[in-house]
Symmetry: C2
Subunit: 304 residues, 2 copies
Amino acid sequence: MTAKAASAQTIGVFGLGSMGFGIASSILAGGFRVFGFDPNPDAVSNLIDSGGESGDPVSLAPGLDVAVIVVVNSSQTEDVLFGSDGIAPQLKSGSTVIACATVAPRFARDMEKRCNELGIHYLDAPISGGSIKAAAGQLSVMASGAEAAFDGCGPVLDAMAETVFRLGDSAGAGSAMKVVNQLLAGVHIAAAAEAITFGITQGIEPEDCVAVIAQCAGTSWMFENRGPHIAQGDYSPHSAVDIWLKDLGIVLDIARGEKFSAPLTAAALQQFIAASGSGLGREDDAAVAKVYARNAGITLPGVE
Amino acid sequence: MTAKAASAQTIGVFGLGSMGFGIASSILAGGFRVFGFDPNPDAVSNLIDSGGESGDPVSLAPGLDVAVIVVVNSSQTEDVLFGSDGIAPQLKSGSTVIACATVAPRFARDMEKRCNELGIHYLDAPISGGSIKAAAGQLSVMASGAEAAFDGCGPVLDAMAETVFRLGDSAGAGSAMKVVNQLLAGVHIAAAAEAITFGITQGIEPEDCVAVIAQCAGTSWMFENRGPHIAQGDYSPHSAVDIWLKDLGIVLDIARGEKFSAPLTAAALQQFIAASGSGLGREDDAAVAKVYARNAGITLPGVE
């Protein structure tokens, strides 16, 4: 079956947090009819103000061509699809699920199997890029799935993403790559915090540290992105500390199962756990710097 | 005193390893007269083939306007300047030492003081960029020192470097920034190795891992630079494993002195120590991946 033209497709977006709302907005901007669903009524009404629609997911599901699931983790993903009010049994045959949460590859393969059994295509499609890129339709998508799954949602992917990596012909490969990305991203955030606070002990202003290192071999995407949060003392959450308890936890669960020793990931996770345990779980993940600073008796910019 | 024109200045380069040889070549290309010194006669004769000169450092030192010291560590730096055949007592008043090794800021301040007492300017000038950029005159230099030190060697710095960060008016600040850079760079190399080998457990080919992650938020300068070494199984040394035993050791020595807890640096150092301890100390630092692979029973590309 050929995908319908964009203007004729109806899309449901499940989860309207910072990423999901941006994705829904991008898909709207792509000319689709978009229904959005979220437990938070403010998010839903914001989407309606932007031209989206909403309603009861179970009764609307049969009208959807594509369901994009942008929730936090595997248990929420499973709940959207197969929970007591799950939509999978309601979705029409030939429709496509785009699953965006960071999950273990094994979970993605299980969801694919259960959706396929209902005649529904499943695209394992974790995303990278942050809320600003989500809103601009410029995400990176690490996708794997059957050709029919890609065919069923190509124009929607195009509306969401600047880059779609096509990593394999079944679910699991996309999630595997995303998990590797999260390993690095989480370690790099903690490393940025470690380096900037260490620099303070040596008389280096965080602002100067960020400006110089960004042009040297020590830089990383996360250093350049999160370093300014520390230098400016701005911990309003783009991506929260608690995300890393989940994502680095996924890495280490898989690693333990594979008997793979991952000492940097383990060290980074401990720093995020300390941040969350000291009440910073909902702050921006750059707030892991506060753990380093407190442990060393250092004052950070903008932090009392 | 104004610096002489480039063509009239005579430069000594002490240490002709991969970085020093490239720096000497860049300075030659800048039109200077260059004397090079190294215990390895092949390095010296290669420099002479490139248009450089050599001889006895103690007797040649009085003729130098600038002495660039590109040795491995603080003890070699001190030996070049103040050892039994040290050049500092021979250098003429008003000449400038450019000290490039990665050292503790306190050591740089001590060297500056001792040089100044002899009427010699001292520039604390650690470098970043690797041997290819060294040979192209495109290094980053993290420099601090008195205005007279900068004035005494401006054209030489310009020949060596694409970017000169001017970080303060006395020695120490340059070394401090370099140490922060090395913290990040060392952690990022180990993280790249951890991520790529972890990816292998999930069925991700290292080559694909490098290609995809380089375009995602998990990337780093080191991931993009060293990742291909792992993917191609090429461990011919650009920067050796043992460099990180030294440089992360400097970070952790300083950190302990400051009572600064640096768990990621500590974890990364342990992986480099395991690499060195298992006989990989002189291989490219990407060989830290072999520790991860061996510990997980994984086979890396190009490794038996």
